[in-house]
Symmetry: C2
Subunit: 145 residues, 2 copies
């Protein structure tokens, strides 16, 4: 009351708490990686690929914030595992589109099962609080991301 909170302090606190939530959840992520026997970058790549929407290699590189040549190696190994297929574009034959195979879709589903549900701390909130939280985040993040 005596210390007027700066305009950003509540948002910063929320951000810090979310960061802690993620940090605490990283163990689950690594466990999921070894469960499907893929490295973390391979899992991130596979989860980024929508089965119904072929993606150029360079777009994946952008999503993963890394070099094109890096994606080449990661996709090589995903292709060795038959989870992904490269398909040369028709309009522009330089770009190669990434398709998720049937096996890839299955692994994606398994990963979503392992990683898609909320971590325990969020589930400890009452249903009303959960809805309130989701509504706030929806308003903040919305379509912007």
């Amino acid at each position: 009351m005596s210390t007027a909170p700066s305009q950003t302090s509540a948002a910063s606190e929320a951000w810090l708490l979310m960061s802690r939530l993620f940090q605490a959840n990283r163990g689950h992520f690594f466990a999921a990686c070894s469960e499907v026997d893929l490295s973390p970058p391979q899992v991130i790549a596979l989860r980024s690929l929508r089965p119904d929407d072929p993606m150029p290699m360079s777009e994946l590189a952008g999503l993963m914030h890394c070099d094109n040549s890096n994606v080449t190696g990661i996709v090589d190994r995903l292709e060795d595992r038959r989870l992904v297929v490269r398909q040369a574009g028709t309009r522009d034959r330089r770009v190669k589109y990434l398709l998720v195979t049937k096996e890839g879709i299955a692994v994606r589903a398994r990963l979503e099962e392992l990683l898609g549900h909320a971590p325990e701390p969020l589930l400890s909130l009452s249903p009303a609080e959960q809805r309130q939280l989701a509504a706030l985040l929806r308003k903040a993040v919305g379509e912007s991301v």
Copy 2:
């Protein structure tokens, strides 16, 4: 409205939105890493070390969910940069405690300046909504993490 939301759907939606927020913010993280000229694991390690609380190598390995031998290499490079110092324990001479040097503290401060504030979507909420969000997260995460 016709489909009654399952008990966990609101929490899952909140989790998904938080994940998107993190994904969208990863660019800032990499930018901060190159700004201080450290690799992502080095930044994670340095941020994990409280300057006032020396930490054993193995504890850092636990925090980072990786092998002890991995931390050896990361700390080697941090020590080359004079950001961290190893100090053998007195009670148990097997463990080596990690101390943050003055330069390390400065880099940590710079990183906190770059990464500590909330990302733009959270700031778009009104102050009241920010407080509401922080309160919900505080209740969920609390001391558990």
